[in-house]
């Protein structure tokens, strides 16, 4: 299984690379949404900061008080349009709900994702995945409750403990547990989606049940497959942030933009790497299943009349 897992881990990366048009397409949709969501803010900022010597306070370094000042002004020219960002983010979520079907179809079938095939698959699975989303919300409720309880317990520990570390250590441990639970839930639902696509399963509760069984029987294999990619994603993201915040010159706009977009691309790519890994894993799992022998009726027992039995 380890060898299979390693093979799956790397092959999945190859699959993502092979059908990289999916990555690029989703990335550009995300970028366009990002640009649209910030368009109004940018125009207002530009009208203020262009032809303005005070803009140097933001360009050479980054003066926090300048940003706060601008936001304090009446009719703040630099007001963050949070609602725009949230709206477009929600739109992207809907888009991904739609696109996931097509993406998984490409990975499961390992066929060139033509536009027609992609949209067919996406549309075919959209409402199924929407129903899965509702199930996911229900499953996440107890985890949210656990998070709330963690916060309350942490507060209580902090009030009782002289050392400031006790509460923090508790929080760290609880965060790990909650994170693991979230990963498990996500993995469960990922596999349900894979089953829905691979088996064209219409009933999501059945897909979930099968996925749960699959996960239970092959937990370590699937979990490690998922976790490895997550670690890589977070490590690369942290490294990218470090480069951006501490290494790039404050005035290097082009480098900052390229680096930030590369971080988004890697983040997206690793997520699709996970999806490809799950799809490949399922394909291999199905291929390795020993088929049950077809049932054949047992031969009829031989009936031999005995001498004592009366002849009819």
């Amino acid at each position: 299984m380890a060898a299979t897992n390693r093979g799956t881990f790397l092959s999945a990366a190859g699959l993502v690379w092979k059908w990289q048009r999916l990555v690029w397409w989703v990335f550009f949709v995300c970028l366009i949404f990002g640009l649209f969501s910030t368009q109004e803010m940018t125009e207002r900022a530009n009208s203020l900061l262009d032809h303005n010597m005070a803009a140097q306070r933001l360009l050479k370094g980054f003066d926090i008080s300048a940003i706060v000042l601008l936001q304090q002004l009446p009719d703040s020219p630099l007001e963050i349009q949070g609602h725009n960002i949230v709206h477009f983010s929600m739109l992207f979520v809907v888009f991904m709900l739609f696109a996931t079907g097509g993406i998984l179809a490409a990975y499961v079938l390992d066929e060139k994702p033509t536009t027609t095939a992609f949209f067919e698959a996406a549309g075919h699975h959209f409402w199924r995945f929407f129903r899965l989303l509702i199930y996911l919300a229900i499953v996440l409720l107890p985890i949210a409750g656990l998070a709330a309880a963690t916060s309350a317990i942490r507060t209580h520990i902090d009030e009782q403990s002289i050392s400031p570390y006790t509460a923090d250590h508790f929080l760290e441990a609880a965060a790990v547990v909650i994170l693991l639970l979230l990963i498990i839930v996500r993995l469960w639902f990922d596999m349900a989606q894979v089953i829905a696509v691979a088996e064209d399963e219409k009933k999501m509760h059945r897909a979930l049940r099968r996925a749960f069984g699959l996960l239970r029987r092959n937990f370590l294999s699937l979990f490690w497959l998922y976790l490895r990619v997550s670690i890589i994603a977070w490590a690369l993201f942290a490294f990218g942030l470090y480069l951006w915040m501490f290494r790039l010159s404050p005035q290097s706009n082009v480098a900052a933009f390229l680096l930030s977009q590369l971080m988004i691309l890697i983040w997206l790519g690793t997520r699709l790497w996970q999806r490809a890994g799950e799809s490949l894993w399922y394909r291999n799992y199905q291929a390795n299943q020993v088929p049950e022998p077809a049932w054949t009726p047992p031969p009829a027992p031989m009936y031999m009349p005995t001498a004592a039995e009366p002849q009819q």
Binding site: L31, F33, G34, L35, S37, T38, M41, T42, A45, N46, L49, D50, H51, N52, M53, A54, A55, L58, L59, G61, F62, D63, I64, S65, A66, L69, L70, Q72, L73, L78, I80, I85, V86, F88, S89, M90, F92, V93, L97, T100, F129, L133, L136, S161, I162, S163, P164, Y165, R186, M245, F246, P250, Q251, N253, A256, F257, S260, I264, W267, R271
Partner: protein
């Protein structure tokens, strides 16, 4: 006052040794009748207190010898009982509920853990007997009869001018869970404003205000002899010289402190402190630095010490000598942050956190600020109820100067490669959070809310003084502060004393400025309304059609400066042309606008109001300049950040799919 909490953490050199105060040393402020008092010692407190570290209560007795220097016979004496503010029906809590305070927002619920009280069990006056039953609570500020933070007692006979009266008061304290500077957190006790404190005879009347959400304290100078009995495992810090420490047979120990020429005494105790001893030598000799660090905060030790020594040095150099031989610095534990950021004579409380980044200079800022109060409040003992700006505001200004000198003018509050903030910027944004609801000179408890109080008292005063540098010069203002300190230390000056000192030292009449800045609420905002160049013969298209050389073309340049706010202030306008020539205009700022006109064989390249950024009070520095050349890089930088944030949020939410 306590600084508004900001952030937190750092690295250390711990010099561990037990509490090792010297005996009272032969310094200017040393104990004993041989040394000349620095202040007019109106009060002499002798207090014996015993702390119950489990219940966080204090049983105490106080002998107050009050010297009647009022010039009038005095028969009625008011006293502060500050700890009674921590009760739901008090004026303090009522105001917190209404308008918030530094630690709590409006509509905060009452938490019984924050109950505190000071009860007078017995009050006797020498030669007058037991006057306990004649005590009456008074409410001079708001007539809230449920507020018991001030009582008065009337003696059978008046105390003649020049004579002394001795009060013997038995009282006990219930410390609240840390709230507004005082109380306990885990095994930490911060004991401030804890004893019956007599009011101040000031401006021919008793000045003894109730405790308000947005006010601090006011008291007379004198001496303190305090004996504190605590469990033997407690480590104690106090605002006084440790005279003796005696272990008692019941598992407690009694520490005796003496302090002179101060107007308050506070102390703290915790078995969990780590003691760090250091010292600094200034113009008056050595100053012992006694730092009490809480668990988990040792990484901030060296940051505290470096900031403290830097501040000591610069105050000594710029404003005047520090006359005491010690300073006690207390780092409150986690959960006790509300006790942090506060000043008492020769004792200050600080604030940090477990993982305080080096780039967030919160430990340094709070150290500088609270030590600065040793000058502005501790020695120049202004009335914090009625003129809070004189200690908080002046201290915030000197905080900017000291922090800039120690940590860089652009990086004195936040210093990361990717983001910075200066102290002056911090003060300005604090001010502009609510710039025109209240004037600086308003009584502290009459501000509309805590945000306005904090922003105006601290931020606006600092910004006003920074802007004043443009009028009289930075060196002159420093000289004025030095003069003010040396003249009024150990007294109770007023705002007018301060302003007149500035006028005297600068040799200028500054009433036009002070009337607006200190007593008014006008906003200062000058704006570059227009800056463009037009061909002089703009109508003569044929000449341009004949391709007249640009070098021969004469341009008329217009620069219009507008006063958008009501604050009138003289401004300079720097105009640059594309041939390298410049013009500098000085406008008195009186009218609503002014237009400058230039006819030159050059077009405008840039125009800027206040090119040297000296008018800190200007509300909007982004309407002060114009450049002909386009430069959208700042907007693009912001866009990169916003787009990234939007995309990453999208990706995070897409996890749900």
């Amino acid at each position: 006052m306590r600084l508004t909490k900001v952030f937190v953490l750092a690295a250390a050199v711990a010099l561990s040794c037990g509490p090792a105060f010297s005996q009272a040393t032969a310094t200017i402020a040393s104990a004993g009748t041989a040394s000349k008092p620095l202040s007019t010692r109106v009060v002499a407190y002798q207090i014996e207190a015993k702390l119950d570290a489990t219940k966080h209560t204090i049983a105490a007795s106080e002998t107050l010898t009050y010297k009647n220097l009022t010039g009038l016979p005095q028969q009625t004496f008011p006293f502060h009982l500050y700890l009674n503010a921590f009760q739901p029906q008090s004026t303090f809590m009522t105001e917190v509920r209404r308008s918030g305070t530094r630690g709590n927002g409006p509509d905060s619920d009452w938490d019984a853990k924050h109950f505190g009280s000071i009860s007078v069990d017995k009050l006797e006056v020498a030669n007058a007997g037991d006057l306990t039953n004649t005590m009456e609570f008074i409410q001079p500020d708001d007539h809230n009869t449920d507020d018991h933070t001030v009582f008065q007692v009337t003696l059978p006979k008046p105390v003649a001018p020049g004579a002394s009266v001795e009060f013997h008061i038995v009282f006990h304290d219930v410390l609240p869970r840390v709230v507004e500077r005082t109380g306990y957190a885990h095994d930490f006790d911060m004991v401030g404003q804890w004893f019956p404190k007599v009011g101040v005879w000031w401006k021919n009347a008793w000045n003894c205000h109730q405790f308000h959400a947005n006010s601090e304290f006011f008291a007379d100078f004198g001496t303190f002899d305090v004996k504190v009995t605590v469990p033997q495992n407690e480590i104690v810090g106090a605002g006084g010289d440790l005279v003796s420490s005696v272990n008692n047979s019941d598992g407690t120990k009694t520490l005796s402190y003496h302090s002179e020429d101060v107007h308050d005494f506070s102390w703290t105790a915790s078995p969990s402190f780590t003691v760090v001893e250091d010292s600094w030598t200034g113009s008056q000799g050595p100053v012992k630095i006694h730092l009490l660090m809480s668990p988990g905060h040792m990484a901030s030790t060296q940051r505290y010490l470096d900031a403290e020594k830097g501040t000591l040095r610069l105050f000594d150099q710029w404003y005047g000598p520090y006359p005491y031989d010690r300073i006690t610095m207390v780092d409150p534990p986690h959960g006790g942050a509300d006790a942090g950021g506060m000043e008492y004579p020769t004792l200050i409380t600080l604030g940090t956190a477990v993982h305080m980044p080096q780039g967030v200079l919160a430990p340094e800022v709070v150290t500088e600020h609270e030590f600065g109060h040793q000058y502005w409040y501790g020695m120049v003992a202004t009335n914090e109820f009625e003129e809070a700006w004189l200690d908080e505001g002046i201290n915030s200004y000197t905080e900017v100067k000291v922090m800039d000198a120690l940590y860089g003018s652009n990086t004195s509050a936040v210093n990361f490669p990717f983001a910075q903030m200066s102290e002056s910027g911090l003060q300005k944004i604090s001010y502009l959070g609510d710039p025109d609801s209240d004037p600086i000179a308003r009584y502290a408890w009459l501000f509309i809310n805590s945000n306005s109080y904090g922003g105006i008292t601290y931020g606006k005063t600092a910004t006003v003084l920074l802007t004043l540098e443009k009028v009289i010069g930075e060196d002159t203002l420093r000289q004025a502060l030095h003069t003010y300190f040396m003249r009024y230390r150990f007294t109770h000056p007023t705002g007018e004393d301060f302003l007149k000192t500035i006028e005297e030292v600068s040799g200028k009449n500054l009433r036009w400025y002070f009337n607006q800045a200190i007593y008014g609420t006008q906003i200062l905002d000058y704006s570059l309304a227009d800056a463009h160049s037009d061909p002089r013969k703009w109508w003569d298209t044929s000449a341009r059609g004949a391709k007249v050389s640009e070098k021969d073309e004469v341009y008329r340049t217009y620069v219009v400066v507008e006063r958008k706010g009501e604050f009138v202030f003289p401004v300079d306008v720097d105009v640059k042309f594309d041939d390298g020539s410049t013009a500098i205009e000085h406008w008195d700022g009186q009218d609503r606008w002014v237009r400058y006109q230039y006819d030159r064989k050059a077009k405008i390249q840039s125009a800027q109001i206040d090119a040297h950024n000296q008018i800190n009070m200007d509300r909007d520095p982004f309407n002060n300049s114009f450049t002909e050349d386009s430069d959208p890089r700042a907007a693009h930088k912001l866009r990169t950040i916003w787009v990234f944030a939007s995309e990453w949020l999208s990706q995070l939410l897409a996890w749900l799919t």
